[in-house]
């Protein structure tokens, strides 16, 4: 196949980024005029622009789902949202149980046990503070949820590192 030997068009290095922006209609005023003036007098850059026009539209994969797809999408979404809502209210009621006003009631027994432990088992905990189990438990769920969220929100931020590790074609311009 002769096509495989086709070389990429080489534009003037200092104009390349502007040619890409020009292709996407991102240049205005004098910037745009400058690129257009240059392209008129520079065959390699003209060829480069032509190549962008022929290659880049090919990268978009068309997809037109039928109406049934959208109906199903909305139905599924409503179901999933209801599930999340139910989960949320379950955890909320659990959290309510551990609200400060509920603690005296629920922790009465715990205090008694604690007092006994401190009295009988002095030294068992060493110099450490008594762990605040209730509070720690209350924080685990939302914290875990947020951690997951922020982990994903940081994906973009972590990409500099990944990019440094390696695109074989990067930095060629």
């Amino acid at each position: 196949m002769a096509q495989h030997d086709k070389a990429v068009a080489v534009a003037c290095t200092q104009w390349e980024e502007d040619l890409v922006l020009h292709y996407y209609g991102e240049l205005r005023g004098s910037e745009r005029t400058a690129v257009e003036d240059h392209v008129r007098g520079c065959e390699p850059c003209r060829f480069y622009l032509k190549e962008l026009e022929s290659i880049l539209p090919l990268t978009v994969k068309p997809d037109e789902p039928p109406q049934a797809f959208w109906d199903n999408y909305s139905r599924e979404m409503r179901r999933k949202l209801t599930e999340v809502k139910e989960r949320k209210s379950w955890w909320q009621s659990l959290a309510l149980f551990f609200q400060p006003w509920a603690i005296p009631v629920s922790a009465t027994a715990a205090v008694a046990v604690l007092a006994l432990t401190l009295t009988l088992g002095k030294g068992f905990w060493g110099s450490k503070e008594i762990p605040q189990d209730d509070q720690a438990f209350m924080e685990i769920l939302p914290a875990a949820e947020n951690l997951e969220f922020f982990k994903t929100m940081e994906v973009l931020d972590a990409m500099d590192f990944l990019e440094d590790m390696g695109s074989p074609v990067k930095g060629s311009a």
Partner: protein, 187 residues
């Protein structure tokens, strides 16, 4: 008068379930389309966009209104798509290649029924494009898809990626350079 996105967010935060459903209705097609540009598969695009809606719903409390709902939500969506690609990195290329081999778009090749030669070329092209996009570093892929496929402005992309416009331009340029090199034979 129709409530704005931010009004619906406020209602949803106060427990109005229907308000969030309305947000989904407003944004589902655009969200799906972006997810499809990343996944290039209908079912996966549906799952990813729905996942993004669910995360947004669960974290409405994190929406501080500094950017519009649109920007905030699409940032979550892009992250969901990138995260998914990261997790599936090892297997995605093979799956994608199989998928596109079974899914050549005649509209991209010709309006007439394609000849066997054209079919071979179209399959080669689909494979190449999938692999070339897959090989782009995530930030380049994001900038490229949002510009090339979604037609967002550099300013909008910068806001969504929470970076400078100049950085988006660099990502876009690098992505285009890489794609040109991979796809030159089809120019």
């Amino acid at each position: 008068m129709q409530p704005g996105d931010e009004d619906l967010v406020a209602l949803a935060r106060n427990g109005d379930h229907k308000a969030f459903e309305e947000l989904v209705e407003r944004h589902k097609q655009k969200a799906y389309r972006i997810a499809f540009d990343f996944a290039r598969d209908r079912e996966e695009a549906k799952d990813l966009s729905q996942e993004a809606f669910l995360r947004a719903y669960s974290h409405l409390g994190n929406f501080d209104g500094r950017s519009g709902f649109y920007t905030w939500f699409y940032r979550i969506l892009v992250n969901v798509c990138l995260d998914y690609k990261r997790r599936k990195k090892r297997t995605f290329a093979e799956e994608f290649n199989e998928a596109v081999e079974n899914q050549v778009e005649p509209s991209q090749v010709s309006q007439k029924p394609p000849s066997p030669d054209q079919q071979v070329l179209a399959r080669q092209l689909s494979r190449k494009i999938g692999a070339a996009l897959e090989a782009l570093p995530p930030k380049q892929r994001t900038a490229f898809i949002l510009k090339n496929n979604q037609g967002l402005s550099i300013k909008e992309i910068a806001e969504m990626m929470q970076t400078a416009e100049g950085t988006v331009k660099v990502h876009l340029h690098r992505a285009v350079t890489a794609l040109r090199q991979s796809l030159a034979e089809f120019a």
